[in-house]
């Protein structure tokens, strides 16, 4: 077949492709194009007879061009047709949602299950409400001011390192971030309370927090905390210890107690880590609690004067405390969940136990 003939063939096929009304038609055209006896393949076979190498190469290129043109035309038409076919199927499938009868809708005859973390959060909230706390919430995306600086963690503070912060490409570098704890809500609420002169404050703030961390049995990069904040007149460390103990017994049961030991958080002073009786061995000592009978639950302390300064509260007039701990960790302890990763897998066989 001569070169002219080949070009005619291409035009012919492309016209045929354009006429195709169904992807079935394109299948037929495509298989003809790929068949051994197709003009393109025949032309390619004939190349062997051309002796001049330069000429052979040039011819080869043209044949390839023709073949590509056909393939491209088929692909383009296939896309058009599938769009048309999808349109047609969507149209025939159309449903007027206002036409749905009041008797419509079938649901399984078994109740669903709340996530164990949200159940845990709800029971923690119940305990706090009963203790007189108001439940508040706040944003998950924060700025360096709320998450760090106003909490007495200025840029370069060594303790900032502990937070494995996830920053966002918004604003100046390292100013917008995923909150690493629920403590920035202390600042939001104190700023608000100062603005509308609504101190005292007795609030609990549950919420989702983030850190750069590879998930393992005890840690997830996305996790939940609850923060407690009390600012009033004459609040003491003894009050803090009392509130922690009341909460512990109310949530975990009367035989679980709390104790405080010194720790360091830049936004509280004095600061404490609070531990509760090991829920596995009830204080006898086991592997989970490294034979101490106690397990760490969270951090707490008296609001640092630097925090009061940041929000403009007079630390000689008001005092207060804050505490925070992991909701997921409470769920893990209460239900003996060996591996935290089960919480984000969403396997119904796991969820339906709770």
């Amino acid at each position: 077949m001569s070169e002219i003939d080949l070009q005619d063939h291409v035009d012919l096929v492309i016209a045929e492709v354009a006429r195709a009304e169904h992807s079935r038609d394109l299948d037929a055209i495509e298989s003809a194009h790929k068949a051994k006896n197709s003009p393109v393949l025949a032309a390619r076979r004939a190349l062997g007879a051309v002796t001049d190498e330069e000429q052979r190469r040039e011819l080869g290129r043209r044949i390839q061009g023709c073949s590509d043109a056909i393939t491209a035309a088929i692909a383009a038409r296939r896309e058009e047709l599938s769009a048309i076919e999808r349109e047609a199927s969507l149209a025939s499938d159309a449903l007027d949602l206002t036409e749905v009868l009041s008797s419509a809708g079938s649901f399984p005859s078994r109740r669903g299950h709340a996530h164990v973390v949200s159940k845990t959060r709800a029971s923690l909230e119940d305990v706090f409400v009963a203790m007189g706390f108001t439940i508040k919430e706040g944003p998950e995306v924060e700025t360096d001011w709320y998450n760090f600086e106003a909490l007495n963690l200025p840029p370069g503070h060594p303790a900032r390192d502990m937070y494995d912060t996830m920053y966002l490409d918004l604003g100046e570098a390292e100013t917008v971030l995923m909150r690493t704890h629920t403590s920035p809500m202390q600042i939001h609420l104190l700023e608000e309370a100062v603005a509308d002169q609504s101190l005292p404050l007795h609030v609990a703030i549950p919420g989702r927090c983030y850190r750069l961390d590879t998930p393992d049995a005890r840690h997830l990069p996305v996790f939940h905390q609850v923060e407690g904040l009390v600012v009033d007149k004459g609040i003491t460390f003894g009050d803090l210890a009392g509130v922690i103990e009341t909460f512990t017994a109310a949530y975990f049961g009367p035989d679980i107690h709390s104790r405080l030991r010194p720790a360091y958080f830049p936004f509280t002073e004095p600061s404490a880590e609070f531990e509760i009786t090991c829920t596995i061995c009830r204080g006898e000592g086991c592997r989970t609690c490294s034979k101490t009978g106690w397990i760490e639950l969270g951090g707490c302390g008296m609001i640092d004067p630097a925090v009061f300064d940041a929000v403009g509260i007079d630390a000689t007039e008001w005092s207060g405390f804050a505490f925070g701990f992991g909701i997921d960790r409470c769920a893990q302890m209460r239900h003996s969940i060996a591996d935290m990763r089960a919480l984000i897998e969403n396997d119904l066989r796991f969820s339906r136990q709770f």
């Binding site: 949602l97 108001t134 570098a173």
Partner: protein, 826 residues
């Protein structure tokens, strides 16, 4: 920080009771993360000589070994093979107990009586080598001799302590010992190092030294030591370094590390002959300067890092020609490293600015024991003692050592902070009354001093407590120190109460209702990640800027989610693949909208919170995915009706005409719509089916399956300006019977049934009690492109029973209204 009890005992006569010490350390806030007892249970272990080795018939993994351990030949069954006749190995005889509590008894195995156990290093708690028996090569190894004597092991307890950021004093053995001794009421021994031979010329005349920036290096101590012979350290130094987790290198480096572990002051020894011009300069690195550190990495210095406020300040030590030879507080350079040829050492002991050292350490990802201590803040007053202690230790292995009089600049004693603490503040912050004697007994053993005047204590803070702030904030720091020393667990607990009642917000209550209704419909709650893959928006076809995580650990967690849908669909797919039935999943959580397209929340940011930054919208969302058998768009519509009824919403309608909106992306184009409030016109969410194309793209398990979806914006649902609520006021219910009748209309397919229902309701006027669609028919008898819609109307009046006239009037009004929409009565 690994802290051996034997080392602590240099400073006070601590008891051996590891449990007591552990509990005391914990209560002091020196949290014990692990306790390692070495040499315990080795009293009975003796040296045995291998005399014969025989196979045991029928056993290929154990052999019978005849040993001599001083009391005549004994048979032992042993599984190890790494020994030969004539070797000396440890034997745990019958009746002994190994570390970890394993009791050795006489046992009969395969007809052979085994009289004890031959041990590996690991079984004895002496290392991890578990490959075979521990082979003893020491000349003292004679049959029957105690292994403790052969190896020179003393029982010791090593505490692994986590030192908090506000305890710079406790980053050393001496500091821990001081705190512990104070609590236990033991005498703290703090002896000055004994002096070594002094060389005639003082350091100041041997060297030049210049500190160019005294904020970066507030105090610099230098001392020249001659007569140095580089060799290995005495055994006790090597032992203690190893117990503390450091490797012994040579006597010079070891002495420096020993001083750091003991006193908390890192020092740096230079080979004096290798310092050009016999002088040192301390300054900030200039931009782009380089140094090859001891770990043989070339470090580029003085370049600002990415972290907030990092201006690229690195403190460097230079020789007299101003060439950088060390990275202050972090690591020395190779050029002046101690070698076997070293005979004189220039010892540097300095105070560096903690934050600068920490920033450099972070930026260069270079951490050392020294940088850990400098970052917390070291004691500027300890330089002289550290240099003397170094010399004292080095003299043990260098008999000819002499030390030139140290040169410390500035030479005056560092100032001590004084905090004025009102006595009343201590009581009011702790809820605990302590008198001056009690407070002094807590603070003074820890280096504070105290005087009282007019109810105010003047508390002088020791120089090793750089964490105690000056001014009013320092009051809280001192009070913490009092409470900590007294013991938190002894502070009486108080039952606090206040008059304000606890409460949850309306939004939280609404969320609880939503959750409860969906649970009742069979939905189970999922928790999917708020962090998604970079392809997620493209996958959904949402044309909006993504919110990008600057420093993600993985690409799969590099964006914030814009929709709960993909995560839920993946979870649904996974459950279907695991053959679960009745798969309905929902999630309640935030989705994030880029500030460039959001409504605009601004927040304080930057240094001092002095600027404002545009923040993403966080849309509180509930999304329910129905993938149980028989689920489709009608399931989602039924769920919507149930939810809006439970929330008391009025006038929720479905709009299928609006298509091009981000909310509808990924939804079926002809089987889904926006949920709107009729009065306000505000879109509250979406309802319908998932676009099959999107579904199968996200998870193949969903292809060929109809999946219903309902997604609502909880913030809008809770906002009465957006979502209309039923009035809370009671409506009178008619005492007269209702009249019920049906009407069927033929309506063209391009008019939605909802419009007809709306028109009929309006036409029926105030008599209408309810109107419901109870049948839809397409087929013979109804022209193509239309359908018959049958409605049931319930009418009533407050004051009478309705008669035919009333009903006819309503019917006629309805027929007329339907005609407006092109509908005819059937």
């Amino acid at each position: 920080m690994l802290t051996p009890l034997s080392w602590l005992k240099d400073f006070a006569d601590f008891p051996d009771d590891a449990d007591l010490l552990r509990a005391t350390l914990d209560d002091l806030g020196l949290v014990v993360e692990g306790v390692d007892v070495v040499g315990d249970g080795l009293r009975d272990v003796v040296v045995a000589r291998i005399d014969e080795i025989h196979p045991i018939e029928g056993a290929d993994r154990v052999r019978r070994v005849v040993i001599e351990a001083g009391d005549g030949p004994l048979d032992i069954v042993c599984g190890a093979t790494n020994f030969a006749v004539g070797d000396f190995v440890p034997l745990a005889p019958v009746g002994s107990t190994l570390p970890g509590g394993f009791d050795i008894a006489r046992r009969k195995m395969l007809g052979v009586t085994s009289n004890g156990m031959l041990c590996s290093g690991r079984e004895l708690g002496l290392g991890d080598d578990h490959e075979g028996l521990m082979i003893l090569s020491d000349p003292k190894a004679e049959p029957g001799v105690g292994i403790v004597d052969v190896l020179g092991i003393e029982r010791d307890v090593i505490f692994d302590l986590a030192i908090e950021g506000n305890r710079p004093d406790a980053w050393c053995v001496r500091g821990v010992a001081r705190d512990l001794a104070a609590r236990l009421g033991l005498q703290f021994r703090d002896e000055a190092p004994s002096t070594v031979a002094s060389s005639p010329i003082p350091t100041q005349q041997l060297l030049s030294a210049e500190v160019r920036d005294t904020t970066l290096c507030p105090r610099l101590g230098l001392s020249v030591l001659s007569g140095v012979r580089v060799t290995s350290s005495p055994r006790f130094i090597i032992d203690r370094l190893e117990k503390a987790g450091m490797r012994a290198i040579n006597n010079v480096v070891d002495a420096s590390n020993y001083v750091m572990l003991e006193l908390g002051q890192p020092t740096h020894p230079y080979d004096l002959e290798r310092i050009e011009g016999s002088g040192l300069i301390v300054r900030a690195a200039s931009r782009g300067e380089t140094l090859v550190t001891l770990d043989e990495h070339e470090r580029e210095l003085g370049v600002a890092g990415k972290s907030l406020g990092d201006q690229g300040i690195d403190i460097v030590i230079c020789d007299a020609t101003d060439t950088v030879i060390g990275l202050a507080g972090l690591m020395g350079g190779v050029s002046s490293e101690i070698s076997e040829a070293t005979t004189s050492v220039l010892l540097e002991a300095a105070s560096f600015d903690p934050i600068t050292v920490m920033r450099t350490s972070r930026r260069l990802a270079l951490r050392s024991e020294a940088s850990a201590r400098f970052s917390k803040g070291t004691d500027p007053a300890i330089l002289e003692i550290a240099m003397a202690r170094f010399a004292e230790l080095l003299a043990l292995s260098c008999p000819d050592l002499s030390m030139a009089e140290p040169w410390v600049q500035p030479n005056d004693t560092p100032a001590r902070t004084v905090i004025e603490v009102p006595a009343e503040r201590i009581a009011s912050l702790l809820g605990l009354n302590l008198d001056q004697v009690e407070i002094a007994s807590l603070l003074e053993p820890r280096g504070f001093s105290l005087s009282e005047s007019d109810g105010v204590y003047s508390v002088t803070v020791p120089t090793n407590r750089g964490d105690v702030r000056g001014g009013a904030r320092g009051i809280a720091d001192v009070i913490e120190e009092i409470a900590r020393s007294y013991s938190y667990s002894k502070i009486p607990r108080h039952q606090l109460a206040w008059p304000e009642p606890g409460a949850v917000s309306a939004r939280q209550r609404m969320r609880a209702t939503l959750r409860d209704v969906v649970l009742g419909l069979g939905g189970s709650e999922a928790w999917t990640s708020s962090l998604v893959d970079s392809g997620e928006l493209a996958l959904l076809g949402i044309d909006e800027p993504e919110i990008v995580v600057t420093n993600p650990l993985t690409e799969g967690e590099s964006r914030l989610r814009r929709s709960l849908l993909p995560g839920l669909l993946r979870s649904v797919g996974m459950n279907l693949e695991r053959q679960q039935d009745d798969v309905i999943l929902f999630e309640i959580g935030a989705v994030f909208v880029h500030p460039a397209v959001s409504s605009g929340r601004w927040a304080r940011a930057g240094s001092q919170g002095g600027s404002e930054v545009a923040m993403p919208d966080e849309v509180d969302t509930i999304t329910v995915v129905f993938a149980h058998d028989g689920a489709d768009a009608t399931t989602a519509v039924a769920a919507l009706r149930m939810l809006s009824d439970s929330l008391g919403l009025e006038g929720v309608e479905i709009d299928q005409k609006t298509r091009r909106t981000a909310e509808l992306v990924g939804l079926h184009p002809t089987r889904s719509g926006l949920v709107r409030d009729r009065r306000t016109g505000v879109a509250l969410g979406v309802v319908g089916e998932i676009d099959p194309q999107t579904a199968s793209r996200i998870t193949p398990a969903l292809s060929g399956r109809r999946v219903g979806i309902l997604s609502l914006d909880i913030g809008r649902l809770g906002d009465t300006a957006k979502a209309t609520r039923r009035s809370e006021l009671a409506q009178v219910v008619s005492r007269f019977p209702s009249s019920i009748f049906d009407m069927a209309f033929v309506l063209a397919d391009d008019v939605v049934a909802g419009d007809l229902a709306k028109a009929l309701t309006a036409a029926a006027g105030e008599l209408i009690e309810s109107l419901s669609l109870f049948d839809v028919y397409r087929g013979p008898g109804v022209e193509a492109g239309s359908r018959s819609l049958a409605f049931r109307l319930k009418l009533s009046a407050e004051d009478r029973t309705l008669d035919d006239t009333d009903i006819t009037a309503v019917r006629d009004a309805c027929i007329a209204a339907a005609r407006e929409l092109g509908a005819t009565l059937r």
